[in-house]
């Protein structure tokens, strides 16, 4: 499978270095290695969801408990989480670190993924969610650390878009 194991490891290690100890996830192709690493790591609690919006509640509970968490989802999972983000995380000032695989952009071969890519950034901007990209392995650690720092200091959701350049090897 041409999902980058090297990039997945870099992301997972960066999350660990930020003291993230709980990850919620719903599987998608680009996230397979990350989810497996979370599952294999005894220091990480992996919560496999039925739908991504549940992750907002899980992360809020973790925040109340003093545990740093992250959310692994596809951009369509972000679309499915929007009410939870607005009416929980924004309303109650809950930090969320959302790692979103950015499907449906240039190079996308799966026809069914192509609509989500068109609206992802527009929605993030419309919702006032600060976001950046994970697109080069050299900057992964710094970007994740910066995103998590902003989420915690501003008490709001932030997003990192996992790009094809980083996640896919072909």
């Amino acid at each position: 499978m041409p999902v980058s194991l090297t990039s997945s490891k870099a992301i997972f290690n960066a999350l660990k270095q930020c003291d993230i100890r709980l990850l919620s996830a719903l599987p998608e192709t680009w996230l397979v290695h990350l989810i497996r690493m979370a599952d294999d790591d005894p220091e990480m609690t992996l919560v496999r969801l039925a739908k991504e919006e549940e992750g907002v509640g899980i992360s809020a509970g973790a925040h109340f408990a003093g545990v740093k968490s992250g959310m692994l989802m596809q951009n369509h999972g972000f679309l499915a989480s929007i009410n939870g983000i607005v009416s929980f995380a924004h309303l109650y000032k809950i930090p969320l670190l959302m790692l979103i695989s950015y499907r449906g952009t240039f190079g996308e071969r799966d026809p069914w993924q192509t609509q989500g890519g068109n609206v992802t950034e527009a929605l993030l901007r419309g919702m006032g969610i600060p976001y950046s990209f994970l697109d080069e392995i050299e900057t992964v650690e710094k970007r994740i650390r910066q995103a998590q720092t902003l989420a915690e200091s501003s008490l709001q959701p932030v997003a990192l878009l996992l790009t094809r350049d980083l996640m896919w090897e072909e």
Binding site: T45, V47, A50, I58, G61, F64, A65, L91, Y92
Partner: protein, 190 residues
Amino acid sequence: MLRLDCLRVIYPEMQNCLVVTIMGATAAELHSLGHRQNFFYLQHAMGLASSTGLGLSLCLPDQKVVVFDGDGSLLMNLGSLSTMARYRPKNLLHVVFDNESLLSVGGFPTATSTGTDLEGIARAAGIPAVLSVRAVDDFRTAVKSALEGTQLTTIIAKVEAKGPAGYITDLSLVENRFQFRRYIQSLKRE
């Protein structure tokens, strides 16, 4: 059976639990009995009270966590039952007040009024202990026994579709959230 009477009889047991409620009538009624810093009222985001309870209970395995859910909220996030059942935290009690109605948003009947069986759904989702109660005494017994037990439990409490006249309290949402987190952090320092 009235939800307010149910909340009243178990109110003393809630003193040392982390409590998460859904919006509207449930939040207002618990608040009316006397707010405590260990109560968090999720006044929107229908469906996510149970997910919040799951996050809390997984991160704080030595702390009892109680969620007061409702039929309308749970029907919006039935997948949460399968996620709770998957991890089945022993310290989580999930109470569903089923009044067969979206009472707080106009009183329209939910699908439990036409036969949807939340007890059956919860059991089939894999929640290890599930029971329905229709009398206040049975409710009190069920809650006490679940809190003393070591199994993830869902209690479906069949209640009347009655609630308070208004839902707004003098506790701001953000104040409640900071208070709740601070309370939990103070427990950790003890």
